[in-house]
């Protein structure tokens, strides 16, 4: 067997689909040819490494956002949505509010992502100077500030809705769990405050912008998880509640 043919057959050998007769010919060639043997070992190592890659965990907030979007689509499609049988009626409005808030966040997140992928992102990093001094960059700074404020407001509105929902239903939670959530929210609020100050001082700073929106996203995720936890407890789903509370 020639080297070029042997290398073509390596693929089938690694996949375990090589004809037994050809396999013996290939083995004989590999025994005599060091470079082909080295290639075979490396390609097998690559395939093994691929098969050994770990699954990547999905953050829980993805499901919460998806569930909100799914419910809205169902409602728009003519009310085919069938709520879980155990869901008490008194939570209908609560779920609708949470879903609406999640949708607002999803819309805001999408807008921000779209902005971030625009070619203008490069300009934000390196403002062009104009012939008349800093007039161009002043306009740019103003434009960026307006965009940031609009995005910040989207998050703020969504957070307000979520906070109201959490406030109304928090009594369902164990006092210790509620206290932990409050403490974490306090830390996140402090980070939001500091990041907002940094953004106001340096609107063109990518780091400051990312820090602000990361903190806002964390707050949304925590509030959504809290709502989901309340919902699971109300449905009597201990397993779901344990999963969300990490206990």
């Amino acid at each position: 067997m020639q080297c070029d043919i042997a290398r073509e057959r390596l693929q089938d050998q690694i996949d375990g689909t090589l004809d037994p007769v050809v396999a013996r010919e290939l083995d004989a060639h590999l025994a005599a040819c060091a470079p082909c043997r080295a290639l075979a070992a490396d390609l097998a190592a690559v395939a093994d490494a691929g098969a050994s890659l770990d699954p990547i965990a999905v953050p829980e907030h993805v499901w919460l956002q998806l569930a909100g979007r799914w419910r809205r689509e169902q409602a728009a499609a003519g009310g085919m949505y069938r709520a879980p049988a155990a869901a008490p009626r008194r939570y209908t409005a609560f779920h609708a509010l949470a879903a609406a808030a999640m949708l607002a966040v999803a819309a805001g997140g999408g807008w921000i992502a779209w902005r971030a992928t625009e070619p203008g992102e490069v300009i934000l990093e390196r403002p062009r100077q104009t012939a008349n001094g800093n007039a161009g960059s002043d306009v740019l700074v103003e434009s960026v500030k307006n965009d940031l404020e609009a995005a910040d407001q989207l998050y703020t509105r969504a957070i307000a809705g979520l906070e109201q929902a959490v406030k109304e239903q928090k009594s369902v939670l164990e006092p210790q769990v509620a206290a932990n959530i409050d403490a974490t929210l306090g830390v996140i609020d402090q980070a939001i405050g500091e990041s907002r100050a940094a953004v106001q001082a340096q609107p063109l700073s990518t780091e400051a912008r990312e820090s602000l929106f990361e903190a806002l996203r964390k707050k949304v995720a925590l509030l959504q998880n809290t709502i989901s936890l309340v919902s699971e407890i109300s449905r009597g789903n201990q397993a779901g509640a344990s999963r969300l509370s990490g206990t």
């Binding site: 290639l39 690559v46 490494a49 890659l53 990547i56 999408g110 992502a113």
Partner: protein, 196 residues
């Protein structure tokens, strides 16, 4: 009874996966618990594929939602003749490739189809193996550098364990092209990992 030697649900004509079909039917009827079951069963593998295809967790989170919403809208086309996981992976892969194509178009980059990027990798003729133990983190980085066509084929075949005929069906290519794309990916990965 489903033959045990069948992986991922590509089976002979006439066999129907009743459990998957029943779950799909419940989802179609707007059963929230069924939709959550579908998500809980398949989201982890689909998210892994999506993160590795898009190379970005934030985009992958958005894409995962799109995959499940699109799946829900299209479930009426699911006939139970393949596993629901296969059907979902086909949908997910195509949505990811569409996303990457549109991203390339927006950035005015040259685009290529899965089949027209078949130039073979130069093969190193080292007398001994150039790779030692491959760490996961190095592998993840190397996979991210692959061209999208062979990356998809490699992820579906070597990482997710689908057979070439399944990969071919998912990507709309021939089985031979699937094999050559996976081979090309392995050669490129060897080069990336070895720093050649």
């Amino acid at each position: 009874m489903i033959p045990s030697n069948i992986q991922h649900g590509m089976i002979s004509a006439g066999t129907v996966y009743q459990d998957d079909l029943a779950l799909a039917e419940r989802c179609r009827q707007g059963d929230f618990d069924a939709f959550e079951s579908l998500y809980r069963e398949h989201s982890s593998r689909l998210f892994s594929l999506t993160v590795r295809m898009l190379g970005n967790r934030t985009d992958a989170e958005d894409m995962l939602q799109e995959i499940f919403l699109t799946a829900h809208r299209k479930l009426q086309s699911y006939r139970g003749d393949a596993r629901l996981s296969t059907w979902l992976f086909r949908l997910a892969t195509n949505l990811c490739l569409d996303h990457l194509r549109s991203k390339s178009a927006r950035m005015n980059q040259a685009t290529s189809s899965l089949d027209d990027d078949n130039a073979m990798e130069p093969v190193s003729t080292s007398p001994g193996p150039v790779l030692g133990t491959v760490q996961n983190i190095d592998m993840e980085r190397a996979v991210a550098r692959l061209p999208r066509g062979c990356r998809a084929a490699f992820l579906l075949h070597d990482v997710e364990g689908f057979e070439h005929r399944e990969v071919a069906s998912m990507l709309g290519i021939s089985e031979g092209t699937s094999k050559s794309q996976v081979h090309k990916a392995r050669l490129k990965l060897r080069r990336f990992l070895a720093g050649l």
